[in-house]
């Protein structure tokens, strides 16, 4: 009798569904959903013309282009070097491998303001790296190149930590089969391993890109922050807020938030593809 009741209501065997789900939804709404909705609500105060005028003003347009462009470039560099780093960490044994593995999480754990002043100091003219680069005529600090360096720093763990578990779980049989069938090592990597890693690589790329687009703390110290030269979109939001131009700040934020949602959707689709892919292998 009791057994039958449990069987019939399998999903409600464990008590507390109502209270835990209610609490979760309430807390989520209060802290995350309502505040985010307020941003879009505030955007509707603007007419479409006003919105367009703000977003297409040269300074805003430049800031958005700079943020998205440099984030793409940084994510691309992270994709390449992240793949190399993952390969070394997963496939090879070398002195300090465990330390270098742990080091990957530093950009994730180190507060952005700390990373920001440390990078700026490194690449400033009298810094460890700036001193070496200055004679070559390369200036990193206070230029868009500095922003790029900071974005590479914050994005790396996203690529490495997404790809690493997939490479670790890759069955040895696949490569053995390829080798048995006469494929060279290069062919095996290109035709067998790379396709298996592709969804994870793209997911890592998208996550690094998303993080870089919104990044603020580690960038503003090294950027120089010249309008129309090295001013990123998040900084422009802060500047507009400090000028009490809330409408402008909100419009720029809405564009960026929309972009993050699109990236989030892409990442979700990539993961679904990846899961299907994993089942096939």
């Amino acid at each position: 009798m009791i057994g039958a009741a449990i069987f019939r209501h399998k999903r409600r065997v464990i008590p507390g569904f109502g209270i835990t789900m209610g609490t979760t939804l309430l807390w989520l709404s209060l802290i995350v959903l309502i505040p985010l909705a307020a941003l879009f609500l505030k955007t509707t105060d603007l007419s479409f013309d006003q919105f367009l005028r703000i977003v297409s003003s040269p300074r805003v347009l430049h800031a958005l282009q700079l943020s998205f462009g440099l984030s793409l470039a940084a994510a691309a560099i992270n994709l390449v070097f992240g793949a190399v780093v993952v390969w070394a960490l997963v496939r090879y044994e070398f002195p300090g491998r465990r330390v270098f593995d742990a080091v990957i999480d530093i950009p994730f754990a180190l507060p952005t303001a700390v990373a920001g002043i440390a990078l700026t100091n490194l690449y400033a003219e009298n810094g460890w790296f700036g001193r070496l680069l200055a004679p070559l005529g390369i200036q990193v600090a206070f230029t868009p190149l500095g922003i790029f360096v900071a974005l590479v720093f914050v994005g790396l763990p996203f690529v490495v930590r997404t790809v690493q578990p997939v490479l670790e779980d890759l069955e040895a049989e696949l490569e053995e089969a390829a080798a048995t069938l006469g494929a060279s090592r290069w062919t095996t990597i290109r035709r067998v391993i790379f396709p298996a890693l592709l969804p994870a690589l793209l997911t890592g790329f998208a996550l690094a890109f998303a993080r870089a687009v919104g990044e603020y703390g580690s960038v503003i110290f090294i950027a120089g922050n010249l309008p129309n030269v090295s001013e990123i979109a998040p900084l422009l939001i802060v500047i507009r807020l400090e000028e009490f131009r809330y409408a402008d700040a909100t419009a720029i934020a809405a564009v960026m938030l929309l972009a993050s949602f699109v990236i989030l959707l892409v990442v979700n689709l990539l993961q679904r593809w990846s899961e299907r892919r994993t089942r096939e292998y």
Binding site: G16, T23, F100, N121, A172, G214, T250, L257
Partner: protein, 305 residues
């Protein structure tokens, strides 16, 4: 939509670390010659990895400590004992204590609701919990200014009742809770999903109450993952800069957290003092990373026993 949470640093590898012995043993693989790469390729990849990681990741961290102690230990201690620095440290501790405690409680409840029951829209709920990760820190602060600021939705009402949220402690706490919202839940969800509900069902069928089952059965199963989630949440709460910067108002000695104090010192060209305060946060980051390694080791060992 997938019902897996998004992959983020450390997350998938930790699922691995916290799994039980049967899960670990299943994946033991024999070494294989087919996986050997040519020596030049091996050396090139190892060399690129080491050089890249040292230049881009290790150097900034080392530089923090090098600059902090560039004028000697006495100057370092003086910089940290500065009243404004101490006030910033105190505020940071208060903010982190409140926001971590709230996120701990609600993170566990959320993870429980998501992993112990079947219901439609589960993947949507997980995505919603992850949302703060995809939002720029600046926007995370801005949304609260739009709600509670002088020109905000509730601004006039708050002013009429003389309640200060923005440019005061409640605003800083709210922004911090927002940015650290997913940490505890996303640490627990993958693990609790793998563990399933059999243990809880056994406990309940033996007559234990729901709460007793949670504290005696579920909590011991998830304690290491929970501890790590709390540590991550705490590191981010103490280090958050962008969101807090927007809502704080930067009142020295009053609404300045440690990261904001670092910014002010740096902009005043007090570089050594800025790096001294920064070194405390860098130390916190290092402690968090070491704790991660220790906890993963402990979880793996505990599961074998």
């Amino acid at each position: 939509m997938t019902d897996q949470p998004l992959a983020l640093p450390g997350y998938p590898s930790r699922v691995r670390a916290f799994r039980t012995p049967s899960m670990v043993l299943r994946n033991v693989k024999p070494a294989s010659d087919a996986r050997a790469d040519p020596a030049p390729m091996r050396w090139a990849i190892i060399a690129i990895t080491i050089v890249f990681l040292i230049l881009f990741i290790v150097a900034p961290l080392v530089n923090v400590f090098a600059q902090a102690f560039s004028k000697g230990l006495e100057a370092y201690i003086a910089a940290i004992r500065n009243p404004d620095a101490l006030a910033a440290i105190q505020l940071t501790l208060i903010v982190a204590a409140i926001s971590v405690a709230l996120n701990l409680v609600f993170g566990v409840i959320g993870a429980w609701a998501i992993t112990k029951y079947e219901f439609p829209g589960k993947s949507l709920l997980i995505t919603a919990i992850d949302l703060p990760f995809s939002v720029s820190p600046v926007i995370s602060g801005l949304v609260f200014v739009l709600l509670f600021g002088g020109q905000g939705l509730f601004g006039p009402w708050l002013q009429a009742h003389d309640i200060k949220i923005i440019f005061a402690l409640p605003g800083i706490v709210l922004a911090t809770i927002f940015v650290t919202f997913p940490f505890v839940a996303r640490e627990l969800i993958p693990l609790m999903r793998e563990q399933g509900t059999q243990d809880e069902e056994a406990s309940l069928s033996l007559g234990a109450s729901g709460l007793r089952t949670f504290f005696k059965v579920t909590l011991p199963n998830i304690k290491w993952a929970l501890l790590y989630g709390v540590l991550l949440c705490n590191a981010r709460a103490m280090g958050e800069f962008g969101a807090v910067s927007v809502v704080s108002g930067h009142v020295r000695g009053e609404t300045n957290t440690m990261p904001l104090h670092i910014e002010i010192l740096y902009n005043e060209y007090q570089f050594m003092a800025a790096f001294a305060v920064a070194s405390l946060l860098a130390l916190l980051a290092l402690v968090t990373l070491v704790a991660k390694i220790v906890l993963e080791g402990r979880a793996a060992k505990g599961s074998i026993l």
